[in-house]
């Protein structure tokens, strides 16, 4: 019963944390974005990670929410 309860509130707590983070923003002008625009700050996966994500999705039971493919491909899973 305790486990079911924590499973139900997990996504809610996660959403609350995300909302709190995203609402804590301050205005940033274009000329202030030198660090934000650095290629290492990209919010997507690196190209060199592509095959790592593939093997993780085959060897683990969950996938998705990483901006990559969500279906198709290998018949090895």
């Amino acid at each position: 019963m305790k486990n079911q309860s924590s499973a139900g509130t997990g996504p809610l707590r996660f959403a609350a944390f995300v909302a709190l983070t995203l609402t804590a923003c301050s205005p940033v002008k274009e000329y202030q974005k030198s660090r934000i625009n650095d290629s290492e700050m990209s919010l997507s996966n690196r190209k060199v990670e592509k095959n790592e994500l593939n093997f993780q999705s085959y060897r683990e039971g969950s996938s998705g929410a990483n901006g990559g493919k969500t279906g198709g491909g290998c018949g090895c899973n």
């Binding site: 996504p11 995300v18 934000i36 650095d38 592509k50 018949g75």
Partner: protein
């Protein structure tokens, strides 16, 4: 009064003339540009794994696998008459793998085929309107290997907000065919090559599998050093969701083929937070919560710390932790009851946790590597361990030419 009116009218015409000049200048200054090759990416990886819970043998036996993956991606960029940026990306991937467990599709371990090739071309087109802050994209994907074919399509939109944010929505559908390659003891008695996994290619039947996904994202620049993205996928799968050559052994020692429900709904929620610490260190963090209606729940957390040793060379150690519960239908070798409605001994659906760690280097000299068109060089190595005793290593190389 007349002078004032004439002055105002004169100024109005001057302003009108001035704006007319600007518009004329813009419209004549802008020239649409045809699609031109802008970027070429080559990604190669070598993957090797070992373990002792093969799905083909019902949860026992070698999981030794090697995989050599190579991908080529070509990107063309151009601007149309409405000053919209068009990007066309064509990709082709070729993987070659060997898997020791494939020999055990035959009951005696005598199947001939222990390797395979996968080809996967893709095509993506994006139209971006920088003035409106919007983009629209379409994609098509295909993947073909001996026992599996997949055809996929996607369409997506993004919209920037006035406060450095961006919403994204992508809808995709994958239409797959799983070839019904059965363990030798379940082959029809009259099948050619029965008993060695050597039936003629055309004789295999196939079963469909569909995957529909709605992917939502919202990214936000929080301050001059911090930005985040929230990702949510709604994934619905239908059709044959197991694999026909995965065995299950029951408590009485007899075996069957794994049996899983024909529907699965997955809900992964991801959050990425990147922070530029000082002038040389970046913190790239990621967390994902996942839940599905087969009873699997997982948490993924990772941290990568690129350190800029020079403005053009960085070293990036990383660590990823993953933990999951088992699906409702999993049990190890010879622990399923025949009365179970669904059953599998695939250890990727069991309860376990894993660690993945390693490091990468990234070289981006302003005039290219050795003064060539090689714009970026990335090399990355990772070591992966599961509490199921599966161990793997992967090394990847990305060469970007511009």
């Amino acid at each position: 009064m007349r002078k004032i009116c004439l002055t105002v009218v004169g100024m109005y015409f001057m302003l009108l003339h001035a704006f007319s000049q600007v518009i004329t200048k813009d419209s004549t200054g802008f020239q649409p540009k045809k699609l031109k090759l802008d970027e070429v990416n080559l990604v190669s990886s070598y993957y090797t794994q070992n373990g002792d819970h093969s799905s083909i043998r019902g949860g026992i036996g070698s999981e030794k696998v090697t995989d050599l993956a190579n991908g080529l991606e070509l990107k063309w960029v151009g601007w149309d008459a409405h000053q919209r940026k068009n990007t066309l990306t064509a990709g082709l991937g070729i993987d070659y793998h060997t898997a020791a467990s494939q020999a055990w599709i035959s009951k005696t371990g005598a199947s001939h085929r222990t390797d395979g090739l996968r080809l996967y071309p893709s095509l993506d087109w994006t139209r971006e309107n920088e003035r409106k802050g919007t983009s629209f994209s379409l994609g098509a994907y295909y993947s073909n290997e001996f026992n599996y074919q997949s055809l996929g399509f996607s369409a997506g939109i993004t919209k920037k907000t006035k406060s450095n944010g961006e919403f994204g929505l992508k809808l995709s559908g994958y239409f797959d065919q799983v070839k019904l390659i059965l363990p030798s003891e379940f082959e029809p008695a009259n099948a050619a090559g029965s008993g060695s996994g050597g039936r003629d290619h055309a004789n295999y039947g196939s079963s469909p599998r569909q995957t529909y996904t709605a992917s939502f994202s919202f990214s936000q620049v929080i301050n001059t050093r911090l930005q985040a993205i929230f990702l949510l996928d709604l994934v619905e799968q239908h059709g044959y969701l197991g694999l026909p050559f995965h065995r299950v052994y029951f408590t009485d020692g007899t075996d069957s083929i794994e049996k899983l429900p024909s529907n699965r709904f997955k809900l992964p929620l991801g959050f990425r937070l990147n922070y530029f610490l000082g002038d040389k260190v970046i913190l790239r963090s990621y967390y994902r919560f996942y839940i599905d209606d087969w009873g699997l729940r997982s948490h993924t957390a990772s941290l990568e710390v690129p350190i800029k040793l020079t403005p053009f060379f960085s070293l990036s150690p990383f660590y990823r932790y993953y933990t999951q519960s088992a699906v409702n239908y999993f049990a190890p070798y010879e622990q399923h009851n025949k009365t179970d409605g669904y059953y599998t001994s695939n250890y990727s659906l069991s309860a376990f946790s894993s660690h993945f760690f390693g490091a990468g280097i990234r070289l981006v000299p302003p005039k290219g590597v050795f003064g060539t068109h090689l714009n970026t060089l990335e090399l990355r190595y990772g070591h992966y361990t599961q509490t199921t005793d599966l161990v793997s290593d992967v090394i990847s190389l990305n060469l970007q030419f511009r």
